[in-house]
């Protein structure tokens, strides 16, 4: 019985095939070729778009230690004010918008996708979700309370600078010294030098472990020479800002540089 049924099915399928062939034969060859051509073209365009999209990204990631002022800066960029204040973030803030200072400009301005990743040490893993798509990274440093946190800040910065995605794609990094409106805030030169010194020490202690132990995927700088940010593969710059007062022009400049307007 089963074999009969199978044969029946086969016969039916054969019939379908024949009918289909006849239909196709009926269509004039030009139309056929045109149809196939269009299909191929759309597929091709689709692939191109996907490839292009990957290379142009408009994401900027704000990161740094907890309490350095990232959420305040995020809201300054978006709305021009930090509203009623912030508390320690438990989740990343992300949104795509046109920078507040540019909303008054005429013409078409491309929105920017900004992600504010929490700085709390327990939430560090969230950074890895956003780094691959980043066009630029801003590392926010608290210029006021810099010295007590300098070790933690430099460790975090070191980890970021040695991540594969950052090194391979040469993602530009901006070290932003926040809270400069306060009188006792350190200067950016001082902060830069301190960070370079600490990272130099870190380089020594991390590479002292055996080859099997190296956690970080890449090493920084040239062994034997003191570390300087200019030796990094990706471009590292230092700037100043103040989240509370809204003085974020250098930050916006960085964003505009690396995200095509």
């Amino acid at each position: 019985m089963d074999t009969d049924k199978a044969e029946q099915l086969k016969a039916e399928l054969q019939q379908w095939f024949n009918q289909a062939e006849q239909l196709i034969r009926q269509i004039p060859p030009n139309q056929l070729y045109a149809a196939v051509g269009i299909v191929l073209l759309t597929v091709f365009v689709f692939i191109l778009v996907r490839v292009f999209k990957r290379t142009i990204s408009n994401t900027v990631v704000l990161t740094g230690l907890s309490g350095s002022g990232k959420t305040t800066l995020f809201y300054q960029l978006r709305d021009g004010s930090s509203h009623q204040g912030t508390v320690t973030s438990m989740e990343p803030n992300e949104s795509t918008f046109v920078l507040h200072s540019e909303t008054s400009k005429k013409g078409k301005i491309k929105p920017v996708h900004i992600v504010d990743v929490p700085g709390h040490s327990r939430l560090r893993s969230k950074l890895d979700e956003f780094l691959p798509q980043a066009a630029g990274v801003v590392f926010v440093v608290d210029a006021l309370e810099f010295l007590p946190n300098s070790r933690a800040a430099s460790e975090y910065l070191y980890d970021i600078l040695t991540k594969a995605s950052v090194v391979k794609k040469k993602i530009p990094l901006l070290i932003l010294c926040n809270k400069v409106d306060k009188a006792s805030a350190h200067t950016r030169e001082f902060i830069r030098k301190q960070l370079e010194k600490e990272i130099d020490k870190l380089r020594a202690s991390r590479t002292a472990l055996s080859a099997a132990d190296i956690t970080n995927e890449f090493t920084l700088g040239v062994p034997g020479e003191t570390f300087a940010f200019s030796l990094c593969h990706n471009k590292v710059t230092v700037a100043e800002a103040s989240g509370l007062t809204g003085d974020i022009s250098q930050l916006e400049q960085f964003i505009r540089e690396h995200v095509e307007p």
């Binding site: 509203h83 973030s89 040490s121 933690a152 460790e155 472990l209 956690t215």
Partner: protein
């Protein structure tokens, strides 16, 4: 009076604060709450205490998981405000109505809040008056439930489902798992139903105190009371046969459904025990039945994904998860608190399409576990040693722990490891009690060729340690490893001696050595150690446990639960893992694997992962649930594989 009430998003932006209560908060209670409670997976607790110089606040909170909002109320601890839970629930409801993700200013909420507060205060007054009238009646009722308090405040606390304030007198109420079982007997006194309906969303059982120093509670009762063996308040009900009836809400309102649910749960538990891999089927089954709408509609919901997660939905999944955690040797208390915390973070959330409740719960739990096990501070010991070297001081590490966990053995392993990294180590034999302890260390020192400082037996360990450190400073040595005698956490004079040793010498690292075999006792050990170190230290800011060394890891297969219990209870990261008796058996903990092995029933795939964990790289293989690590050392015999 309330000090402040804040509403903020999970991303950190403050949406609304009460302008009338204009007092600026001293210190930073909200940030501390977030850092030490909500991010530490203790959000299942009922309240949080914050002490700043000059003030003592208590904070209470509630979440709106769907919109990602947090509502926090702050008030002075000496005031026992009883309407706070109520108020928070009402505020949550009202605010969710007017919430708009684009808006950042909500000035119109001021009036609504004023109204709500008046209502809540009025209701609290009502209840208090009603209680005072029914005092004699209420006492009898209290006795029935077995934990009556003869003051009116105590009664009120029993009725509170979240009953919790850290006030000594009323602490017994905290011992009550939840006031709901009492609620059922309170119908006469006042309108509990109304109260409980209002608190329907926030009802959960709580019996935990968040602060590190649980006070011994004395209950003033008429009836015979439960004897308290240790300093944590006991639960009123000693009969735990019917876990579902603890949900008093269901008890009062839907009696018919209650019967069905409890039987369902029993079956569900059995099925989860017997077939851990196939709990999906059990889960689907329970979901269909508990909803009482039929299999098809629940299937449909799981595909459409519109169901709002309710407590009842999460219950079976969480219970299964808790059982699984306990089979992996996580202490029962910790598993409970973790489940509560995950429940708090998932309640009210919309289920995504094509996801089942169990997978959502599992994902949330895994995230929570990774978050707990991720250390808060750097565990790069070599870096710290170098930093101390620059200051020309030796880096002092003190090994503490109970008897027989492997302090001396692992001290030798750590010394070996440090030696591999060109660090000058010295051992200090401050175990002056146990026979053979000094000889043991002497043998290790001779084998490793490192200096040892010893003064024989029957000497004061604190003095020996001090002299050892002085000697190390004189000779320019980098690290001093101090071995102490094992002691039980309940032994008061020995804990005092330990606290003195730590206070006198102020070491750079206090390492608690715990064995991985320990079960529920880990919680007790660590909490008592921390408590005693805090209490008995004469200084104002006592040193607590900074890190954990987990030993005998090779004796457990994949039951890595002890690591989780210890980290959760103390907040200290796991710095080393000892997995054998030879010098090379020292490793570091892989967070992601530990977290996933807690949750997985059986890993049958062999996979290799290179993991970055705070600057220490290691390759880990997981085969059949057995975790294997590569040793973080430069020794030629580094790679060991366990079958």
């Amino acid at each position: 009076m309330l000090e402040q009430l804040l509403i903020f998003t999970r991303g950190g932006l403050i949406l609304w604060t009460c302008k009338e209560l204009g007092n600026a908060l001293r210190g930073s209670p909200i940030d501390t709450l977030i850092r030490s409670c909500l991010l530490e997976e203790r959000s299942g607790a009922a309240s949080f205490n914050y002490d700043a110089p000059g003030t003592a606040y208590t904070l209470k909170w509630t979440f709106h998981n769907e919109l990602g909002l947090v509502f926090v109320a702050v008030y002075q601890r000496i005031l026992h405000l009883l309407y706070v839970d109520d108020l928070l629930a009402m505020v949550k409801r009202e605010f969710s109505d007017i919430y708009d993700p684009k808006k950042t200013v909500y000035s119109d909420f001021d009036d609504i809040f004023r109204q709500l507060r008046k209502e809540a205060e009025a209701r609290a007054e009502e209840i208090r008056k009603a209680k005072q009238e029914d005092k004699p009646v209420s006492n009898n009722m209290g006795n029935d439930s077995g934990d009556g308090d003869d003051n009116a405040k105590g009664r009120k606390l029993e009725a509170h489902s979240k009953g919790s304030f850290v006030a000594n007198r009323n602490a017994p109420a905290k011992g009550i798992a939840n006031g709901k079982e009492n609620g059922s007997s309170n119908n006469g006194a006042f309108d509990v139903n109304k109260l409980q309906k209002l608190r329907a969303k926030g009802g959960k059982k709580t019996d935990t105190i968040v602060n590190k120093v649980p006070k011994v509670e004395t209950k003033k009762k008429i009836t015979k009371k439960n004897r308290i063996w240790d300093d944590s308040p006991k639960e009123s009900k000693l009969d735990f046969t019917d876990p579902v009836s603890e949900n008093g809400d269901e008890n009062i309102q839907i009696v018919a459904a209650d019967q069905g649910e409890s039987m369902m749960d029993k079956e569900e538990i059995i099925s989860s025990e017997s077939e851990s891999e196939e709990d999906e089927e059990a889960e689907k089954g329970t979901k269909a039945e508990t909803k009482k709408k039929g299999w098809f509609s629940s299937m449909f919901q799981s595909i459409a994904g519109k169901a709002n997660l309710e407590k009842t939905d999460l219950e079976p999944a969480l219970r299964a998860l808790k059982d699984r955690l306990m089979t992996k040797n996580v202490a029962e208390e910790i598993a409970e608190k973790l489940c509560e915390s995950v429940a708090a973070s998932l309640e009210g959330k919309k289920l995504g399409s094509f996801t089942r409740i169990s997978s959502t719960v599992q994902a949330a739990m895994e995230e929570a576990l990774v978050r707990i096990l991720t250390p808060r501070r750097s565990i790069d010991i070599l870096r710290d040693v170098h930093a101390s070297k620059e200051q020309r001081k030796p880096y002092v590490v003190v090994f503490v722990g109970v008897n027989g966990v492997g302090k001396s053995t692992n001290l030798a392993k750590v010394a070996y490891w440090l030696q591999q990294h060109d660090v000058n180590v010295m051992m200090a034999a401050c175990d002056t009690f146990r026979s053979g302890a000094v000889e043991q260390l002497r043998t290790h020192a001779r084998r490793l060729q490192i200096p040892i400082f010893e003064k024989g037996y029957e000497k004061d360990p604190a003095i020996v340690a001090k002299e050892a450190i002085q000697e190390a400073t004189r000779n320019g040595l980098d690290v001093v490893l101090v071995d102490t005698a094992g002691r039980m956490q309940d032994n008061e004079p020995l804990m005092r001696a330990l606290s003195k040793l730590i206070h006198v010498n102020s070491p750079d690292l206090v390492l608690f050595v715990g064995e991985a075999l320990v079960g529920n006792d880990a919680v007790d050990q660590l909490s008592k150690f921390n408590q005693k170190l805090g209490e008995l230290s004469p200084s104002a800011s006592p040193r607590l446990i900074d890190g954990i060394l987990l030993t005998k890891f090779d004796t457990i297969d994949d039951k890595v639960g002890a690591a989780l219990s210890m980290v959760y209870i103390s907040g200290a990261p796991v710095m080393f893992v000892g997995c054998g008796q030879s010098y090379t058996d020292l490793k570091k903990l892989n967070v992601n694997h530990a977290a996933s092995s807690e949750l997985s029933p059986d890993l049958t795939s062999l996979f290799v992962e290179v993991n970055h964990f705070n600057s220490v790289n290691f390759v880990s293989f997981a085969h059949n649930g057995i975790l294997v690590y590569q040793i973080a050392e430069r020794h030629p015999v580094t790679c060991k594989w366990r079958k």
